[in-house]
Symmetry: D3
Subunit: 240 residues, 6 copies
């Protein structure tokens, strides 16, 4: 099967990071594809950029001319747009937010999220609330690292993560989620260092996508995510 | 003061409908401006189109070269994007969803929403949930009219509204909200016909915007809606 | 139009404070009236006094012989009685609690309330819960100033407010509400000093009342707030 | 011990009904006292009358010159005022709303309330919500009998109750609460006729009050229900 | 009437502690019986042991050959199994968790629980959530005493309780619950020492059970707690 | 890897059904093991039997002498006991309830559960509530088939499922969960017949378990699910 990992920002090196993390955990028959949006911010930090990225990723999907894909991983933590792709496509579309939170719920009584900037926290709270997954989330804490700073030094990121993680654990979290796609690939190291399970949303989403595809399950099209109605959309898609 | 009413679709006649409804209730010192997005669907029906429209309206605001505005009314009911504008601007940004629901909460113990297609209901539920306004909403019901059908015949729309309204009232709603920007201007007629207050989100948003501006209140910039960080956003804004 | 601002305590100077705050923001065609209850505590601090004040304000409204009014502002933050007035009258009745919280929700992702004594906090929590507006409230904090102390020194009140405000902001609030009618008139100063929007419920309620009246919207009378049934009520109203 | 049952309306025969129901279940060492308010509606139907009754019952308690009492039963279902008495007194104050709902929660997975007029339902919902007891309540349904009609014919009341009860059971309720103090004394008959436990709030409140008094438990005075502060309250109490 | 107090662990001295606490508050006509499970852990600390104890207590009840009982008190705080007994029997079955929390809700605006080990807190949270009683619970805090340590020194237990209680009060609790059956009998002392009502679940459950029995109320058998269906259960009950 | 599927009842043919369903979807490197409890009911229908089964499955795990296992699937829908296994073991333990509900949340805006007897519905509601997964569940409906009746005729089961499914869909569900382990293996047929995704909890749990194991994720042992403390447990395990 083919799983398409969609980065939400236009920084190709971050797409590569996610691609590698996804490929590292993909099953034998799984091919990982990845995509960088055609336009938008180099990092997504805040609602304004999240909405731009939502359109940019939908633009990518609406103009997709690559091989047929079996599932999509939406590679933004707490970002918007997933439901649009669920309308547009029939195959499962999974955000790293939901995948991480669900895995965390399977591993502890409660969980927490460690993310980048403090301004990202309310948006993550929104997305967990909409997903019906907020109740068992005890804390969403910031490292105060910007998205692109994550790429600079893995050690510095791990140290900042550990500091923020302590606050989440003190608030009652028993499992932690990497709260940014740019943290992909760090879960095993952090799990070992912190002594609590740390979930990488990219990894979790790939495994959940593989599972759903294997079971032949696809998005329900009977109401909320029915295909978009045929109509004129002048100027859309952007990349057409 | 100047209030900019942003239509979310690219049908200029619907922008006119909203403009007229807004101007009809604007106070003496208020100038109503309106804008149609530069791209996107002719009507917004579903998540996919809602996310496109979010970017399209943000594109309008990011490239705005008209006179300085004092408040923005986001003219889509249950649509996405408002928080992005709250980041981009300092002035109040009010959706017709929130404005209608708040006015309804001031007028009855509970309220309901009557909207267009059934597929719009989950999305409206999402937006009310995020706004913290879902608890007193007893029902979100569909007329099964498409957005553009609303423009065809006011009598047909009123009849469909009345039929759907009955189900909302039976579910315990005491006040009704017009669940689509395209229904703007019909509240007084429906209030009279149905014997319950019917709130037009365009009208309510204009009055709330006037109030906030008059009180000198602006969006809090200390965290969630802080200004977007300076950075590269290749290809954005679209209309630039 | 005429808006009646009802103080909930029997201290006429506090009625004057509210009247001035209301008049200062009223639109050109709005006449502000105000009323002090005929009986009850000189300040309302706690449930016992809140229930006395509820009856006292309802007594004022039931025996009102002044000019016809178009809306009522219930000038107690977190106090009881509003729904009784909604039954008794047809015109909008707005508490400063709801008006402040709604305005705050339009201006930030979350908000907080700064009030007088600590004992007021649970009661404010109750009223926000009933109004369906508690979800986005991150903190309700006390200045430990009694209601009548507010009148002694505006500087001392501002200082105490600022101290308490810090705790609300640390808890995640992005907008603050003046949590007592006696704080009316201080919002602009505090907004400037604190760098976050501070909402005065008296001011917000006046503008929301003006808006609803302008739109011709009145209380729904179909169930919860239907007019009181005709029946004997020996000894009531008190002032008759 | 002495338990004071406070009727909320001024119809003495209804006070007698409650008194009899309370006395019939009181333990050997319990003396039931009862009180009718000095003023207010002959029946409490709606918010307006509920707030009047709150003040009237508080007036009774504030001017009480009878023997010392050990607990108070607030005899209105869904009515206001209880917290005021909790401030004024040290002894337990229990509403028939809470007592019935708690007993119901001990007897089934979920419960329902059968009350008088439809207009009472939102108010009962409010009080259960504030008491934190709404979650397990599946339905609040009306018999459409006015409070004073309950006294006319026990058979007619039982028949109306049974009809309304059916709707509550269909909604998932497993236990029913008598939703009006005026229904006191009918629980055993209805339990037998309907085949599900029917809880009488007067009876339940008397037994819970006896229990708390026996255990030496009194209202917490550390914050919300601390004694009213000493201050002037001109014209209050009404009966003084 | 006869009330059976079921200890959840196999430490007979703890059964005696509960028996004494129950008997000390039982009314004149009440006989207290008690039972120690035939198998299982000497103290119940965690989910694993809670589920073992659930089966062990159900085994006791399924093989009960003593005199007919009128109510059961489930003597584990936050432990599992109560609903099973509600199916098996017709008489009221009350956990000390629910009884304590309900009594606490009658005595303050909010409450807290002080329990043994930190690992017990999530489980108590679960049971309060299921009982619909979590909303008014402001804190569940641990003394870090193991269940059997409670028996060693009442003074040490009281001291540890006081320390933990302070954290619950700081979090807003106004009433405290003894969060372990092994703390039975300490409520009066702690109430006096702490100046806030402290509720003993054993005591509260006995009085609530007496009340329900006196009122002739029994478990609803119409759905969730209908009698177990007749069928083979090889190897069960264990003690048979 | 080895995944152990634990049936909750003592009917070996049902263990076989689950085993087959699990094996049919297991990945190349996965070995499915299965276990039937040593004691307990032939079918689990209600709380009483659910608690017996919880102890019986924990007994199986506590006495497990087979090959080392990498994950456990708890094969009862809405049944108790999972957290006990999470304490006892380090490897992931996943109920079919959570797995099905999570998969459903990934595939639609809301979901429903179709189960066996009506008496199972409240218990399923409890387990979804505790898992924090109830919010998006629109309906839990019964086929009125007993657990063992499921094995009699697949066509009859499919027909009963379809009838019940209609009610769930009418209530707004967009995805359906097989609400009993005994329905395992029917999802593909029902998905095809009903036109909406139907999730088999056994299948979903196997794929989620495979995913977590592949990612090296294990249960958090820092608090709620820490290993049981060493202590005497006379008579336990039962099968020892």
């Amino acid at each position: 099967m083919r799983i398409l990992v969609c980065n939400v920002n236009t920084t190709a090196s971050m797409t590569d990071t996610m691609h590698r993390a996804a490929a590292a955990v993909a099953g034998p028959g799984t091919e990982i594809l990845s995509a960088t949006p055609a336009f938008g911010p180099v990092s997504v930090e805040g609602y304004y950029e999240s909405y731009i990225s939502a359109a940019a990723v939908l633009d990518t999907l609406a103009t997709w001319s690559g091989p047929e894909i079996d599932a999509v991983v939406w590679g933004g933590f707490g970002e918007h747009g997933r439901e649009g792709a669920q309308e547009l496509l029939d195959v499962p579309v999974i955000t790293i937010t939901e995948a991480a939170a669900m895995a965390a719920c399977l591993l502890g009584h409660s969980y927490g999220v460690v993310t980048t900037l403090r301004r990202a926290c309310p948006q993550i709270e929104d997305q967990l609330r909409l997903a019906g997954l907020l109740e068992r989330c005890k804390a969403i804490v910031a490292t105060d690292l910007g998205v692109l700073e994550l790429e600079e030094s893995e050690d510095a990121t791990a140290a900042a993560f550990a500091t923020a993680a302590r606050r989440a654990l003190d608030a009652g979290a028993e499992v932690l989620c990497l709260g940014c796609g740019g943290m992909a690939g760090m879960a095993r190291r952090l799990t070992a260092e912190l002594g609590v399970p740390v979930v990488d949303g990219i990894e979790a989403a790939v495994k959940m996508a593989e599972g759903l595809v294997h079971l032949g399950l696809r998005t329900s099209k009977i109401n909320a995510f029915a295909a978009p109605l045929p109509k004129a959309r002048p100027g859309w898609p952007i990349s057409s």
